[in-house]
């Protein structure tokens, strides 16, 4: 299985190792099917998948919120069932939905979270944390009086209040404005630099493309692929050569059929899709054959698939 080899490759210094994890909910819905995954210490790992793919279930199991089915999960070398206290101590979670005590103040709720995770009060640390998240001015405000973006920051502050080694961010930027999103990613990068491992799920795939070191794609409870982001884009991302013609063509010559060329809507552009991983791209031969066929072009450009396009293709293929 592809994920097995990928998981083995990743075990250079894994902080999370998931082996053969299954989860079937009451009613028979299989949310996870034999998940194998290793997350490296100190990396930003993006877990992508459509709604209902199993992302939140996987995160919830690792965090101890949902009971696992078959399989094992270790965090920092400790089993989440046998050594649950050790594993939960090092994990922080920012859930997808805004779940806060509306009537509590920011300061009290963050202090509460720190205590819950077994840490002695450390007001200096919490003060710095709130300042980093631009929440210090709001420390005495009740959460119900905060904007959605501010509430999201409070959720992050709560998750970081006990200085976790691993941070799960489940759709952290959903419904967050551009400025706040940028601030959040700055903070995430800073956390990574400080050694925190970050596992994030997001619907904004350009964020994963921008932030993540590695990407995992999950669909219908199966981990389809886990790969270095750049390698994934090189491996699975198609590249296109677009040739803008001098004269529109009515149809492509038969002699060029081996290249699988396409014409754009106006028939004034030839599109050639090629594999960047292949020994030869075929571009030189194509240009030569175009010349032989008497087709001239005035400009050319290349374009690579985005992670989003790769993701859509992967998910659609498996659908």
């Amino acid at each position: 299985m592809q994920t097995d080899s990928i998981a083995r490759d990743a075990v250079t210094d894994p902080v999370i190792v998931v082996r053969g994890l299954d989860k079937t909910y009451e009613g028979g819905f299989k949310a996870l099917k034999g998940i194998d995954l290793a997350v490296r210490r100190g990396e930003i790992f993006a877990l992508l998948g459509p709604n209902g793919a199993g992302k939140t279930t996987l995160i919830s199991i690792i965090c101890g919120i949902v009971n696992p089915g078959r399989g094992t999960v270790t965090v920092d070398g400790h089993d989440i069932i046998r050594d649950w206290r050790k594993t939960r101590t090092v994990i922080g979670l920012v859930p997808q939905e805004l779940k806060t005590d509306a009537f509590e103040t920011v300061w009290n709720t963050v202090r509460f979270s720190r205590g819950l995770f077994g840490k002695a009060p450390d007001d200096a640390y919490l003060e710095q944390l709130l300042k980093d998240l631009s929440l210090w001015d709001k420390r005495d405000a009740k959460i119900l009086a905060l904007s959605g973006g501010m509430k999201r920051r409070v959720m992050i502050a709560k998750a970081l209040s006990h200085q976790p080694m691993v941070l799960f961010l489940d759709e952290p930027t959903a419904g967050v404005d551009v400025e706040l999103r940028r601030d959040m990613w700055t903070m995430v990068r800073r956390l990574r630099e400080s050694g925190v491992t970050i596992i994030l799920t997001t619907h904004y795939i350009e964020e994963a493309e921008d932030m993540a070191d590695r990407v995992g794609v999950i669909n219908k409870g199966e981990l389809i692929v886990v790969e270095e982001k750049t390698a994934l884009m090189q491996k699975l991302g198609k590249k296109q050569l677009r040739l803008q013609l001098h004269e529109p063509l009515s149809c492509l010559p038969q002699a060029l059929s081996a290249y699988g060329l396409e014409l754009n809507g106006k028939c004034d552009e030839i599109i050639y899709t090629y594999d960047t991983q292949g020994e030869r791209t075929g571009i030189t031969a194509l240009l030569k054959d175009l010349s032989v066929a008497g087709i001239g072009f005035k400009d050319l450009s290349t374009r690579q698939d985005t992670l989003e396009q790769i993701f859509v293709e992967l998910v659609t293929e498996k659908a």
């Binding site: 965090c63 949902v66 009971n67 005590d101 819950l116």
Partner: protein, 253 residues
Amino acid sequence: MNLHGIRAIYRFEMARTGRTLMQSVLSPVVSTSLYFVVFGSAIGSRITSVEGVSYAAFIIPGLVMLSLLMQSVSNASFGIYFPKFVGTIYEVHSAPLSYLEIITGYVGAAATKAIIVGLIILATARVFVDYSIAHPVVMVLFLVMTTVAFSLFGFIIGIWADNFEKLQVVPLMIITPLTFLGGSFYSIHMLPPFWQKVTLFNPVVYLISGFRWSFYGLADVNVGISVVATLVFLALCLTGVWWIFRTGWRLKA
């Protein structure tokens, strides 16, 4: 042992009482005062004494027990139901807290609040009537055992409830009738023989009887039986809570 975690839950729950002082403390004091006005003064003037104790003094243990049961159940059920309702329970589940630690935090806070209300009611009663506590150690024992047992019961209700109506049903439809019919305002010896026997199926009879014994040495049933009944109820609630956490019933998927 995650002592910081227990303290966090306990302090958080106690702080909620501070925010709802009117509802948590003032309301039971007002209700108790009304009971004294209605039962102690109006009706009490016609019933001079029960087994040698003035009627106004006789109803004090029953009134305290009524408030203790209601407060224990309400505080504990709301304490665990609210995080479930707003979704913040995820944090408790993901924290390094054992079931025992979670219960200690929530039930400890609920029992503390109930005991504080009980003591305030006792102080309020002092304004209306003179009374004595013959066996203070036993009184404290009953106070603690009852509040812990019923806080555990409330905790179970809070986990079982999936809407606010269910949260109210048990205290209003079960606890209140059982307490009123459990000898809060009368001695069960005042009932016809048949109803005296039926009343013995009401578990609250044993709590009130034992509690009243600690005040005046008067009991409808043997105080030893009252202690055993309270311990049995405590054990049943503990078993229920243990089962809930073991299976994750209504808590975890």
